[in-house]
Symmetry: C2
C-alpha cells in the first residue's frame, strides 16, 4: 500500500482538520465531532444533512455550503457514522426550519441516521429523511438490503439544496427527493480495486486484463467480470442496462453524470463521456445537462459510473443550475 | 496498462469531444482544432490563452470560462501543441483587446507559443506572453531549460483571469503575471509513476516502498529518492525547500495550493493539507487562501505538490476571490 498518510487510524481526524482548514471561508468542523457544517445560515429554512462512511471524497463534505448541504457527517473509512455523530450533524445544521436527511441505502447508514432523527426529535427539531438507492447493478449487496446508493446522490444534493434555499418546506423537499430517487439510476464498472488504509491491501482482486461491471463503492461484488473492453463497449453495456431500467422513449429528457471512482483520470472520464454522448444520440434522448468528474469515489478505485436522471419537471433543471458556494461543485 | 480508452492514438480527439459535449453551456471545441474556447465574450477586453500537452486535466480546458481563460490549446499527451494550433487558439480567444499567452516553461511550449504569437501579429492581433517556472525542484530538466512550470500556473490563470475580466490592459496583465511568477513556487513528490497511453508502461519506476521528491509533471527526474515517508515528513521536506526558496519572515502572507497529481485521492490530499497547516502555523505565516484538489495532474501519477504564493498586494486576493464560470474552479 502506497499512500500519503500518517497513522491509518487517524485518517478521518486529520482529513477533517485539513478539509476545515483549507475551506474555512465556507465550512467548519463542529468541535469534538466528525461533522463538517457550513458557516452560512438561512434562518427558518430547511437544512439538508447527508454523510456516511468516508472514502468517497469529495462526497459529502465537498458539497456543504450555500445552496447544497448544511452539514455532512463523516464516518470512519467505509463505516457508517454513529447515531450520536449524525445527531450532532442535525443540531449543527438546523436553522429552525427542520432537517432533511439524505441517506445512501446501506443498512448501517439507514439505521444510524434514523436513530439520530429520533434523538433530535427530543430537541424539538423536526426531521425527515429520504433513502437514495440509485445503483441498478444488483438487488441486495454486502452491506445493503435492496439497491445501493451511489453517485446519483450528489445530483439529489444539488437539486434539493437549491430547492431548500428557495424555501420549500420539509414535507415538500421529502416529496421532491423521493420523486427524484425514482428517476435517478446509476451503474458502474471497476478496473482496479480500492485499498482501505487500515486494511492495507485491496478489497478484492482483478486480473491484469480484467474488469467488473456493477462493483459497489465499497468494493461490493458486481454482476459480471470479463476482459477489459474499450470505452465504447463499456458505454454500450452501461447504457443498455440503464435502457432496461428506464424503458425510455425517443425524445425523453435526461440529465447525465459521468463519475470517476477515484484514481481514474479526467482524460479517461472524457473519452468515456464521448462514447456515452454517441449512445445518447443514437437513442434519440434529449440531454438536459451533463457533468463529468470524480464526485462519489471509492478511495483509489479505478473505474467510472454513469448516472441518468429522467427529467420530469423543468423546475428540477432550474434548481440544478442555481449557483452554489461549495468546495467541489463547480 | 488498464485504462478506459479506445485507441490510444485517438485519445486527444475523443477527450476534447467529450469535454465539449459535457460543457456546452460554457465552451466549444473550435471546429477542426484542438482548441477549447469559451462561448462567453467580453468585447474589447484582453483574452487569456494557455495550454500545452494533454494529460494534466483539468488543466487547462477546465479553467476556460468567464473570469479565467478565454481558450486552452490542447496538445497530444505530454506533447506541445503545434504553432498552428496555438494560432487557432489565439484567433478564437481574441475579443479585440489583445491576447496574453500563459506558457508553462517547457522548451517546446515556449517555442511553439512564440511562433504562434508571430503568426497572429500578421492578423493584427496584439499578443504578449508570460512564462511560468514555479517548480523549484531542479534547474533544467528533460524538456526544460531553467525551472519547469507546474501547478502554480493555475493560480496565475485565476488571478490574471479576474484581472482581465476587470479590464486591465495587455501590458498591465503581462506585468502582473511576471510579478506573480516571481512570487509563486511549487515542489512535489511522486509515489507512483504515470503511464502515457500510447507508451503503455510507466514513464519511470519506483520500488514498492519508494518515493521521489521533485518529479516533474511528465515524469522528469526529481532530486532525491527515499523510502516512503509519513505525510508529515513529506510536508516538512517540501516546506523546508520552499522556506529556502522564499526566505520568509514570520508574519509574511501566503496563499497555499495542495495539488493532487492524478491518482491520489482527496483523502490523502487533506491529510497532507493538515500537516502543511501545522508547518505554516509553526513558521508563523499568515495564510491568505488555501485550495486543495487535483488541478494540475500527470495522468495517473500518485503524489502531491505544494504551491505557495507570496501575497504582495491585497488586490491579488480580490482577483483570486472573484467568482468564475468554469467547469473545474469551484
Amino acid at each position: 500500500m502506497k499512500k500519503i498518510i500518517n497513522n491509518p487510524d487517524h485518517i478521518l481526524d486529520e482529513m477533517l482538520d485539513g478539509f476545515a482548514f483549507a475551506n474555512s471561508h465556507l465550512v467548519e468542523r463542529v468541535v469534538g465531532t466528525s461533522v463538517i457544517a457550513r458557516t452560512y445560515r438561512q434562518e427558518g429554512k430547511v437544512a439538508l444533512v447527508s454523510g456516511g462512511g468516508s472514502g468517497h471524497e469529495p462526497s459529502h463534505a465537498g458539497f456543504v455550503g450555500k445552496g447544497m448541504l448544511a452539514a455532512a457527517v463523516c464516518g470512519e473509512v467505509f463505516t457508517s457514522p454513529t447515531p450520536d455523530q449524525v445527531y450532532e450533524g442535525i443540531k449543527a445544521a438546523d436553522q429552525g426550519g427542520g432537517v432533511l436527511l439524505i441517506i445512501k441505502n446501506y443498512t448501517g447508514d439507514v439505521m444510524n441516521f434514523e436513530m439520530a432523527a429520533e434523538l433530535a426529535e427530543g430537541d424539538d427539531i423536526e426531521v425527515a429523511h429520504i433513502v437514495v438507492d440509485d445503483d441498478i447493478a444488483v438487488e441486495d449487496s454486502s452491506f445493503t438490503a435492496g439497491k445501493r446508493g451511489v453517485a446519483g446522490t450528489v445530483i439529489i444534493h444539488k437539486i434539493l439544496g437549491a430547492a431548500a434555499e428557495s424555501g420549500l418546506s420539509l414535507q415538500e423537499l421529502k416529496t421532491l427527493g423521493e420523486t427524484l430517487v425514482k428517476n435517478i439510476k446509476t451503474i458502474g464498472v471497476s478496473i482496479l480495486p480500492a485499498t482501505v488504509p487500515a486494511v492495507g491491501k485491496p478489497g478484492f482482486e482483478l486480473k491484469d486484463d480484467e474488469m467488473e461491471y456493477g462493483v459497489g463503492i465499497h468494493g461490493e461484488p458486481g454482476y459480471r467480470r470479463e476482459a477489459l473492453k474499450p470505452s465504447k463497449d463499456i458505454a454500450e453495456e452501461l447504457m443498455a442496462k440503464l435502457k432496461d431500467a428506464f424503458d425510455w422513449q425517443k425524445g425523453d429528457r435526461y440529465g447525465v453524470l459521468v463519475n470517476g471512482l477515484g484514481a481514474t483520470p479526467l482524460m479517461e472520464q472524457f473519452v468515456f463521456m464521448n462514447d456515452v454522448a454517441k449512445a445518447l444520440d443514437r437513442e434519440g434522448l434529449d440531454v438536459a445537462f451533463t457533468k463529468v468528474g470524480s464526485l462519489m469515489t471509492s478511495i483509489d478505485m479505478a473505474g467510472v459510473s454513469l448516472t441518468l436522471v429522467k427529467i420530469e419537471d423543468e423546475k428540477w433543471l432550474e434548481y440544478y443550475r442555481m449557483p452554489v458556494e461549495t468546495t467541489d461543485w463547480a
